[in-house]
Amino acid sequence: MLGEGILKGLAETAKNFAGSFVSEDRLTTVEYPEQRLLPIENTRDFPFLVYDGEDPEAGLRCVSCQICEKECPPKCIYIVKSTDKKPDYVGKPQFYPARFDIDISVCMSCQICVEVCPFEAIKMDTEFELSTDDRFGGLILDKHKLAKSNEHFQRIHPTEAAEVDARLAEEKEKVEAKAKAAAEAAAAKSAAEAAARKADAGSAGSNAEGVKP
């Protein structure tokens, strides 16, 4: 009958209207500033720079290779390479960014910088409360604002961070093992040399015109 559907619909909305006062579970709304939902793990918005340890300056993983700057499709990354070097996480001296700016008003959150970074230095953040009253300067994030600790990364993207940490640890182990091996070899070599020299010195009298290096 004509009009039946309208009455049914009215009954449904009336039920919702009354029900929303009675049962709290009906209300799916989260009252945002007070209540928050945790972001899902794959959330991403803008990149940040990861640092290890306590000091954001010393621990910054970025070696200023500028690959991300070149790959960035909207060209929102600006890097100035340092003139001196500082040791990286394995202790190897590396360049570091003297300046690292990302203009998040230009960034399109494509994550390409993260994909191309060979040093696991740039990752995607989940921080979204970035509103500012200065739409030019306020949206350019500099190195200090971008640098966030590895703990932060582990908190926001646990799976990815665990993977990265394992890989870095493995690499570091490998490097250390190599260094150890090299050191051992060097020690052995120097020991051998020392022994040889000693032997040389012992037989110097008998064989003065010995083998010259």
Binding site: M1, L2, G3, G9, N16, F17, S20, L27, T29
Partner: protein
């Protein structure tokens, strides 16, 4: 203060204030006081309605609605007002700026004119003229002009489309609206709103003599409500401003305070048409039961007005928007025949009463005959229209 004084409180207040002025000025002062009352009260109700509508719609959709400004978000209209007053007023470069400016003003003025003859309580009508209903429908029809002014002067295709839709819709629904209202006028024998309310003033037992409790009155009221929804561009007849297809319809190119004026005009129009529906069919300021007559008349009127507004909000939360062809079919094939039939039924009611004489049996026969005719017509018409409707999967010529 006894209930009679309370009932006439605002009337007495007006007299007292007017008495403070010299005799020559007194009619003017009392008129200005009445105007100020209307201009203050109804926009205040509008402000309250906007927040209640948003909260009510939210609840219907299992949301909370606005709750940030003030306790329970009740100060939201103030925030909205500040926002719309401080916004930049943009006039498109190609727009006809005089007409563009005039359109919202004309709309609001025309709608306020309708309140001049609306009785909001016993003796509480600004202008008690005999042709009040006629005046209301005349100025109500002139809102179409301002809507078309807005759409045309904006030089924007969405505005123009919205205005065309609005005018087509409003002219179509004007006919059933008027015909639905005419039955009340016929039975009262007067076009004066106060006379119509007074004619519904009696009680049988505890029940009032409202027109809505008669078969023709119920049919007339239902038709009036549907036509009123369409006339005020409320959902489900909100095609002229359908957000999803026309941005905002005829007021797309309006911003800031002019936009707020359109908004105000729309809600004031809704309230005035609800007020006339109350006047014509729901006994105006009359109490719903004889033992509740001690409550002031104006309180009853505004209680009914809020109920009507709630019903409008409820419908908005429930019904999806119609399509243009459905809208037109509904007006001309359904509303118009039924409202014409309702006129005949009202006439029959009148003459059956005379022929059959008084008495409960005669009254019952009259009631049943009239109700049967209307229900039969409704069922037959609905069935015929639904059968004609060809419901099949829609085929698209280009979009496949």
């Amino acid at each position: 203060m006894n209930s009679a004084t309370l009932d006439q409180f605002f009337v007495l207040l007006q007299h007292h204030v007017a008495a403070l002025f010299p005799t020559v000025l007194q009619p003017w002062v009392s008129m200005i006081l009445g105007v100020v009352g209307i201009v203050a009260v109804f926009p205040a109700i509008f402000a309250l309605t906007t927040v209640l509508e948003r909260k009510g719609l939210g609840r219907m959709q299992n949301r909370l609605g606005p709750n940030r400004v003030g306790p329970f978000g009740i100060l939201q209209p103030i925030a909205d007002a500040i926002k719309s007053l401080t916004k930049e007023d943009i006039v498109p470069r190609n727009a006809d700026d005089v007409v563009h400016f005039l359109a919202p003003v004309v709309l609001v003025v025309a709608i306020f004119l309708g309140y001049a003859v609306l009785p909001v309580g016993r003796n509480m009508v600004l202008l008690n003229i005999d042709a009040g209903i006629l005046l209301f429908f005349a100025v109500g029809a002139s809102t179409e002009l301002s809507i078309f002014m807005a759409g045309w002067s904006s030089r924007n295709k969405y505005s123009l489309l919205g205005a065309m839709r609005a005018v087509a819709q409003m002219i179509s629904y004007e006919v059933p609206l008027l015909l639905a209202a005419v039955v009340a006028v016929m039975m009262t024998g007067s076009l004066a709103p106060t006379a119509i309310v007074q004619a519904q003033g009696g009680f049988t037992g505890i029940f009032p003599h409202w027109y809505v409790f008669t078969p023709w009155g119920f049919a007339g009221f239902t038709l009036f409500v549907v036509a009123a929804l369409a006339e005020t561009n409320r959902s489900p007849f909100d095609l002229p401003e359908g957000e999803s297809e026309l941005v905002a319809g005829y007021f797309t190119e309006y911003s800031g305070f002019k936009f707020a004026l359109f908004f105000l005009g729309e809600y004031l129009g809704m309230m005035s048409i609800a007020g006339y529906g109350i006047t014509l069919f729901l006994g105006g300021w009359g109490a719903p039961f004889s033992f509740l007559t001690f409550i002031p008349s104006w309180a009853w009127f505004f209680a009914k007005l809020f109920l009507a507004i709630f019903f409008f909000i409820w419908l908005r939360g429930t019904l999806p928007r119609l399509r243009q062809d459905q809208l037109m079919n509904f007006a001309w094939k359904f509303m118009l025949p039924l409202s014409l039939l309702n006129l005949c039924v009202a006439a029959a009611w009148r003459f059956l009463g005379e022929w059959l004489g008084g008495g409960t049996v005669a009254e019952l026969i009259r009631w049943l005959v009239c109700a049967a005719v209307l229900v039969l017509a409704y069922v037959l018409l609905a069935r015929t229209l639904l059968r004609q409707q060809n419901i099949s999967p829609r085929s698209y010529r280009y979009a496949d």
